[in-house]
Symmetry: C2
Subunit: 333 residues, 2 copies
């Protein structure tokens, strides 16, 4: 990976991706950074050089090996198809994830989905990624039938303004004052609160985030019939998404077998219960952490607690891993 | 209710109970307040009078109509059986909740359980109470088979020191500093974090809180065979417990029917999705709030979001309602 473009380089995910690229072994010879008009002109340092962030334009991607898109749906919709005519695009938006001809890839789970890609590869939702990394190896062993999940999602998943809002409201909180929510990206206060809706709630009552976790999980695992119940909730935490998960399998589960599977599972770190597994533990880590492995209400049930850094494995790490796979596949040709 | 004792009057639940009694219509003629040795001597105001909190002693309850115990298990174990020889005790500890001869009562759900009580009546867990208030009317209509719950429990459920710790750690947070957790009742930082274990985790991997929510729910609903999967999690919120719940019923559920049932359900307030139902909304309210009513992965599944003030309906309100039932029952004799 020598000629790389990042669209959305000034956002939280783009910035994380830059940091990961910086410490990677890739010899980047041509790095081009893009953002929307309002962030264009910002200078960003990368391996002792300064780079100017340019305003996003299709032409800017000419001659690149790979483009990472870390932008909202509207800009992705506008630019990704055109840029994909120039080079493969790994897109973090949800715009293309469920399209039949777009692979939705978590390298530990479905690397084969990349074959025959048409230059748009979708990077899944930041809650879906840790979920499937932990569940896929268990599915291979016990046969997954149902998933019940409740998420505890950090505010960095809603972007930089959301993160700043949490700090801002916390200043009111320590003074025991009602927080000012005037400019907040959230509909109500996020400090001293949890908000049980992420994205718009549609007429059926599901939030956008819940639909993502349900539909993307089925697509990545290749289990169209999987029954998934999902509730997605924002919590006043800066970084790190958590999931309380109950799985129901075809086979009865034995906990020793589950632990054996998780200990060997790629990208998974199984933590003992005596060390509380919290968002703080997962920060700036590329792995998915699992703990609280325990039996469920029936012999086929299993309860798990899953935690991952939503900016790392939930976003930038996964994108970089996809890029690694693409490069390896093209070398193999 | 004229002659009342409160053991644990200086704790968060005891204080809430005092406030509720103060604004009630009960003409309290004899109010006796007790606490452990370290809080004895504190002066507390109640309806323009000052009361000295006495050190807990069995003799102090002589001649009372009712005693509220808002203490930890160890003190409850030591004092409740002796005090119950003098007057009915409504006990907030978990010490007696699962005993066969102790009614575990949520007045909207199982008022009949009080009959034949032996002067110890247990007040359920603060997460269990809102759960059964919302689920019982749905069970009556659709037949409850399974419950999957994940909780978002506030720090006031862990007592006053926990609440102070959240404020203390928040002062570090606003300065972007690592919080001091030296004296914390929590095993790790609670600010900017969620902690996936409440109470001790036993060898089977279940936390004490998870066992309470599972076993108490079955006892209160009278459903010994109910399958309950539970994950209990502490979140950095002062007051208000939330639950993400999936229910599976015997019958297929229709959402209009569910809403009709919840609108009529005693103690329940059904909120529309367009008003995010958060812990802030439920504070100092006696009801259980329900929102995000939506279909599940199968025709027999239902998803709900349940919120209640853990100090009010989750503790003091429920205790006071039990006392009201006791008085009504004894008048009826």
């Amino acid at each position: 990976m020598k000629r790389v473009g990042i669209a959305g380089a000034t956002g939280l995910v783009g910035e994380t991706l830059l940091r990961l690229l910086e410490s990677s072994e890739y010899e980047i010879e041509d790095l081009r950074l893009f953002a929307s008009q309002k962030s264009a002109g910002i200078m960003v340092s990368f391996r002792d050089q300064e780079y100017e962030v340019k305003e996003l334009a299709v032409d800017g991607f000419q001659g690149l090996e790979i483009a990472f898109f870390c932008l909202e749906n509207e800009l992705a919709q506008k630019f990704v198809p055109a840029v994909a005519k120039l080079c493969p695009v790994i897109d973090k938006s949800s715009q293309f994830r469920l399209k039949d001809d777009v692979p939705l890839v978590v390298p530990e789970v479905n690397p084969g989905a990349l074959s025959g890609h048409k230059n748009i590869i979708a990077n899944p939702n930041c809650t879906t990624i840790p979920l499937v990394v932990a569940l896929n190896p268990l599915h291979q062993e016990f046969g997954l039938k149902e998933v019940f999940l409740a998420s505890y999602q950090s505010v960095s998943g809603a972007g930089r303004a959301a993160l700043e809002q949490l700090y801002y409201e916390s200043e009111f909180f320590v003074l025991h004052r009602q927080p000012d929510t005037g400019e907040s990206p959230f509909p109500v206060q996020i400090v001293d609160n949890v908000i049980p809706q992420i994205g718009a709630v549609d007429e059926s009552g599901f939030s956008a985030e819940e639909k993502k976790t349900i539909l993307e999980t089925k697509k990545i695992l290749g289990l169209a019939e999987l029954a998934v119940n999902s509730t997605c909730v924002r919590v006043p935490v800066t970084v790190g998404h958590c999931l309380a998960v109950t799985c129901r399998f075809e086979k009865a589960v034995d906990l020793a077998g589950v632990r054996r599977v998780l200990q060997k599972a790629p990208g998974v770190v199984l933590k003992p219960d005596r060390e509380p597994l919290t968002p703080v533990v997962c920060r700036q880590r590329n792995e998915v952490f699992v703990s609280r492995v325990r039996a469920g209400a029936t012999a086929n049930d299993l309860n798990l607690w899953i935690v991952a850094d939503n900016l790392y494995k939930g976003a930038a790490t996964n994108a970089l891993q996809i890029a690694g796979l693409l490069l390896k596949n093209s070398e193999g040709l």
